[in-house]
Assembly symmetry: C2
């Protein structure tokens, strides 16, 4: 009888321009995210019907399946203004912030818990909420960088958009002089987007 | 009778870490270039026997075949100290510099011509030398950025190394606020490296 319990995987899944930006200088995510909006698996969690069910849609769905909790930074939360009444997460979300605040229970299974004790506390709470499912560190860039620098990310899927944005918010920045080796585990391309998946080698 | 002469293609073919660096902070290219050194198609132009003849080797060979001239920046030339008696280019090379200097004829078909009149002059001279073959803008980053900003690059193949370098010389930097749309034309992955090819949309 195997009593070992696998630790939940901590994942990053994000769209980046070929020149390394996940948003423009004013936080704009179009045209980077244009590949998403027509996909059935993007539309469904946003309460929208229809959409394509092609390979890109399957890859997005696969990335969201088995995610039991989400971590994000206060700035990303504020930019989206809490995503309205029915946010697209449908799981517990832990928001890194310096301001204590009561949890928010939204419709459709999304709860926002505001964590003031730092990234390790948020991860511990996300693990407890996720059960045997994975944890998505959803952004923004600064939050992902903090988790990467702390060696807490297990897997990254980077969707490379065919575009040089020129300016904006870099995904990989402020990581310091230490190399982080990766293992490429999958590459799938469509005309719209190239999905590159990596394990972080520890 | 078709008298139209196709313009030679201007290409970038370079290895970049997933976080966007083509060299470390002290210009070090290992471990980024580690995938190259064991390939027969890298070893042969460097005067070395043997090596792997796998898909990575084929892709590298394909990238070098049909290149009739090379353009590079003075800093890259100086860093490599002219590549010794038998440089690995084996075609005419045009070096962007501010200091006029006599051309250098090396062994094995490489000539270095020093161009003080700027990037368009270097390209015109490279076109004349390349005939119906392509032109490689080989680096460094600053030189590639100048040609990209001027709208003079037709195709880019970026070999994404599975590594976050953290610091160093970014390939895509200083490009300004204008988006440059790309068309993804191929993605091929091996465990060592992911080859992404793009057309620059004009």
């Amino acid at each position: 009888m195997d009593l070992e319990v696998a630790m939940a995987e901590v994942k990053v899944d994000i769209t980046m321009s070929l020149d390394g930006f996940i948003a423009g200088p004013n936080d704009e995510i179009d045209p980077l995210h244009d590949w998403l909006y027509g996909l059935a698996s993007w539309r469904a969690p946003h309460g929208l019907a229809g959409g394509a069910t092609d390979r890109d849609a399957e890859i997005l769905e696969e990335a969201m399946t088995n995610i039991g909790a989400v971590i994000l930074g206060k700035r990303m939360y504020a930019l989206a203004d809490g995503w309205g009444d029915t946010p697209p997460f449908h799981v517990p979300v832990f928001v890194l912030t310096h301001q204590a605040r009561e949890p928010l229970v939204k419709e459709g299974g999304t709860t926002f818990t505001f964590v003031t004790e730092g990234i390790e506390s948020a991860l511990a709470q996300a693990r407890a909420a996720a059960g045997d499912k994975g944890i998505s560190v959803a952004g923004g860039a600064n939050t992902i960088q903090q988790y990467l620098s702390a060696g807490l990310i297990d897997e990254m899927q980077i969707h490379i958009a065919p575009l040089l944005l020129g300016e904006g918010i870099r995904l990989f920045d402020h990581l310091g002089p230490h190399h982080i080796p990766l293992e490429a585990t999958r590459a799938i391309a469509s005309p719209r987007i190239t999905h590159l998946r990596y394990r972080v080698v520890k």
